[in-house]
Symmetry: C2
Subunit: 336 residues, 2 copies
């Protein structure tokens, strides 16, 4: 059976108060007494019950992370960055999957709140929950850091990747290559897609072209690859690929890979007949054939900075800046 603080006190011949003090090291204890207590702790292999401590401290040494889809490597790579820094600080990281749905995201956050995590990191939160005030509400109760996501006049903390700049560079890269008939592939609900779409429309307007936009189901899950592939194949009935469309801008690498697969299926050569550019630079983008040109979001850094920020917030240090922007970088490989 597990031992309690009382067992230790008995063993050391002191009060539980004293035991508590040596555990926490927050009050002076005579050296000799301390050593006796420490010996007892060691002998009984005692570990304080974190539930009891948390009940009093209102502190659990844990954070929650909500991701839109655990099978999307973009998110797992960001989580990797988060874990790296939280582990050093001896925090537990609890991951929960919202499946990219606003109601589910809400539920996952409320669960974390109930469990008294010390802070919450949201990766690519649902725009709906940003706009309806839910995230702000949560931010008043507990430290919150959002990685990407809708952020106009939302009072919370952000680590943003510079998706505008990344999108522009990607688009300009395609245009510099002589492409004008660029089609745009996005998923359903993510603010990241909206940012990119707006910029895309702007650029198309500038070069005097009608925008061509495709929306794939379930953009945050790995299934999106298959879905994009099917979309491309279907689309080939309406469009003369390689002519009506000479380039695809995909909102993430998963969709870009799907597009690549679609082209392969249709026997369309990439990049000779059609160019494809992705976004994120998940490791998968180097594994395709040809390798994907894409925009690196520095996912690891995104996660690390968010983790550092949440720690500052938890420890009540004033935040230097409520929103921080991470640079993106165009990675030119073989698909453009």
């Amino acid at each position: 059976m597990k031992h309690t603080i009382e067992d230790v006190a008995r063993e050391a011949g002191v009060s539980i108060t004293t035991v508590s003090r040596v555990i926490n090291g927050n009050y002076p204890v005579k050296k000799e007494t301390r050593e006796r207590v420490e010996a007892a702790i060691k002998k009984l292999n005692f570990q304080p019950n974190p539930l009891a401590r948390s009940l009093i401290n209102k502190k659990t040494n844990s954070i929650g992370v909500v991701v839109p889809g655990i099978t999307n490597m973009f998110f797992t790579e960001v989580v990797h960055g988060i874990e790296r820094v939280m582990r050093i600080r001896d925090y537990d990281v609890y991951i929960s999957d919202s499946r990219g749905r606003a109601d589910s995201e809400k539920r996952r956050i409320n669960k974390f709140l109930e469990r008294y995590v010390d802070g919450i990191i949201l990766i690519d939160p649902q725009t709906e929950n940003m706009k309806n005030g839910f995230i702000e509400e949560v931010s008043q109760k507990i430290p919150v850091v959002c990685i990407n996501g809708y952020h106009e006049r939302v009072k919370t903390n952000f680590v943003l990747s510079d998706e505008e700049k990344g999108t522009k560079e990607a688009l300009e890269h395609l245009i510099a290559l002589g492409h004008k008939n660029i089609a745009f592939i996005r998923g359903e609900s993510s603010y990241s897609y909206d940012i990119k779409e707006n910029l895309y429309k702007e650029y198309m307007k500038n070069i005097g072209k009608e925008p061509v936009i495709f929306t794939v189901q379930d953009g945050n899950n790995i299934d999106v690859v298959e879905n994009t592939m099917k979309l491309i194949v279907e689309m080939s009935n309406k469009f003369d690929l390689g002519k009506d469309i000479t380039a695809f801008f995909a909102c993430n690498d998963l969709m870009a890979v799907g597009a690549l697969n679609g082209c392969y299926e249709l026997n369309i050569k990439v990049p000779d007949d059609i160019a494809i550019i992705g976004f994120d630079n998940i490791i998968l983008s180097q594994m395709t054939n040809p390798k994907l040109t894409t925009v690196d979001q520095n996912m690891r850094l995104l996660g690390e900075r968010a983790a550092e920020k949440i720690l500052e917030l938890i420890e009540d240090k004033k935040l230097i800046s409520k929103t921080e922007v991470i640079e993106t970088k165009l990675i030119i490989r073989k698909s453009t």
Copy 2:
């Protein structure tokens, strides 16, 4: 501020005992009283503090899952299956990454123990911790289910995929295709690799060939793809690929993809010059070009069964069987 049971009692004009009873529904309460309490709960938007409840109940309604690498899609797909069933039963699922190291795995498990999760699922646990009795020790304290992993005379619960059968079918498939010069690619430390290696050696012996075994670093992480690719390129100095070696058996799809990439790099045609077979059937295996022949482990089912099992264990029903075996299935695609 958050409300407590006392606020509700005051609001409803009853004792906290009664409030507790309507919350838990474990004792009779007069209808009228109950309704008054329910109204108060609703009005104050009261949620019982789970920490306080757990302190008494020794129950947290949560489980821990330890994976060897969160960036490996095999594991995330299994976790997906686990989450699906736990969510229905209103359990929280906490995921932790051991990076495939025995000491880290131990630490993650101890953390879960400290936090009083109700059960732990280990995916592909480290052989070292199985052999040194650590996992058995943990299993005596708390419900444990292992998915795959070393299991000879280890007293705990298992959901195993039939890796032997899968390996045999894969090997026989290659041999039926006329391959004799089959090389074997594995990672460092996973029992799954050991099972496969033994079978591989046996088959090589039977067809009178020397085994050719390559070990890649960091087999549980996505980096393994890159590492395998490099390995293949290096290996091409020593071996005449397509002649000395006409087929690769890779212990998981990630390595198979790496091998595929290596061949592409070397301008070796798959499957014409060399055949490649993977294992797991992660979605990625359909995204390559050519698509991978592989062995499906039914990851979702693996996760679901483990989740159901841990629930039985937590709820103290006797387990029908301590180890359950899930069928594998050879999926023949284009790389062989």
